[in-house]
């Protein structure tokens, strides 16, 4: 599984990245995490409000910080 956090360095994006890290640790699964801050790449995902959360190439949330449990639910899928 691969999770990408889309964000250009705003405080919300950093918060979301930390949330995702916690969720991954909690899940105990092997998950690849990537922070995407290249604006062109973010736009390829058709996301215009950051932070965005992408799981296995699919955009699951935009413009908001999710809770650890919400991200965990996506990981456990």
């Amino acid at each position: 599984m691969k999770i990408e956090v889309l964000g250009t360095g705003c405080s919300k994006c950093i918060t979301l990245e930390n949330v995702v890290k916690q969720a991954i640790a909690k899940s105990g699964k092997f998950v690849q995490l990537e922070k995407v801050d290249d604006i062109m790449k973010i736009m390829e995902y058709q996301v215009v409000s950051t932070p965005g959360l992408v799981i296995d190439g699919k955009v699951v949330s935009t413009g908001k910080v999710l809770s650890v449990d919400e991200v965990l639910a996506y990981i456990n899928g």
């Binding site: 250009t8 705003c10 405080s11 919300k12 994006c13 604006i39 973010i42 736009m43 058709q46 996301v47 215009v48 409000s49 950051t50 935009t62 413009g63 908001k64 809770s67």
Partner: protein
């Protein structure tokens, strides 16, 4: 017992406070708690409604709309969509990617922060629905005309980043959430916003309470009322660096209008606080030429100043 009577009872009968001090403390308690209550309830309602829209949804709906109609639609969407200046770059470039004209994008960029939930909640709570409607109505007008004018100036060349316009249409954006999920999202959003601003409200009301209790009305009227022809202009310039402090500034403006500041001046000031944000300009500078940002600030500034003078003139 009404809220006002309860606070009166508390300050004058229980604490036995009198004179200026009593008045200031009474005002402080009354206003702080009233504003907190209104902020929480109004922001909750607005953020609940907002769960039906997001910026991606707005972009899909603005694609392929004609110039003026696009400006009107973008300004209206600005009321209901949340805006964070940190998202300004992806928003701007993403709109270009969808072949939305920059004039339409600017209509959205002007309207969205101006009609933010904190400003609307405070306006409604402090000044009542009439002033709120005037503020939103004229705010939309500035956004529509401002965006339309920028669109006519052919400033596309001042976008410093090369974005390849996409071909075809964007997919329809669907947001599927249950009522419970929407309520939860609204609750979390309201909680976060309240945590961010409650202290600003206390500080703003605190300074307001001091003015309310100690500074005489004719002093306020002299500098912010009809006697000072430059009041609107000064108010707008002062409003530019205050973006993040809308929650503290607005209670102060309420007190000043109560003491003789003209309503047009107050409106201009509040619009400048929300619409002309220095941090947003700094962020946009990464992708837009200074000329375009200057034009954007210039047009919005002139619009806001015109509204202030117009109102002061009509209401006199």
């Amino acid at each position: 017992m009404s809220w006002k009577e309860s606070v009166d009872y508390f300050t004058y009968d229980l604490l036995h406070l009198e004179g200026h001090l009593g008045e200031a403390i009474n005002f402080f308690i009354y206003d702080t708690i009233k504003i907190w209550f209104l902020l929480i309830s109004i922001i909750f309602v607005i953020s609940y409604l907002r769960t039906h829209f997001n910026t991606e949804y707005v972009r899909a709906h603005l694609q392929g709309k004609s110039q003026l109609y696009g400006n009107v639609l973008a300004a209206l969407f600005g009321i209901i969509t949340p805006f964070c200046s940190c998202s300004a770059i992806p928003l701007f470039l993403g709109f270009i990617q969808a072949r939305i004209p920059i004039g339409v994008t600017f209509s959205f960029l002007i309207s969205s922060p101006m009609n933010n939930e904190i400003a609307i909640a405070l306006l409604f709570g402090l000044f009542g629905w009439k002033v709120t409607v005037i503020y939103i109505g004229f705010g939309l007008l500035v956004a529509i005309i401002g965006g339309f004018v920028i669109g006519r100036l052919n400033m596309e060349k001042y976008v410093l980043m090369d974005v390849k316009p996409m071909e075809g249409e964007l997919d329809e954006v669907k947001i599927k959430l249950t009522m419970k999920e929407r309520a939860k999202e609204a609750y979390l959003y309201t909680r976060d916003i309240f945590k961010e601003i409650y202290l600003y409200v206390v500080i703003g009301v605190g300074i307001g309470a001091f003015i309310h209790g100690y500074i005489p009305a004719d002093f306020v009227a002299k500098y912010t009322g009809a006697e000072n022809p430059f009041a609107v202009l000064i108010a707008v310039i002062m409003g530019i660096p205050m973006y993040s402090n809308a929650a503290g500034v607005m209670p102060l403006v309420e007190v000043l209008t109560g003491k003789g500041m003209l309503l047009g001046t107050a409106l201009s000031f509040m619009m400048a606080v929300t619409a002309l944000s220095l941090p947003e300009a700094m962020i946009l500078k990464k992708i837009l030429h200074v000329k375009l940002i200057g034009t954007f600030f210039g047009i919005v500034g002139v619009g806001i100043i015109a509204i202030g003078y117009l109102f002061n003139f009509i209401l006199q």
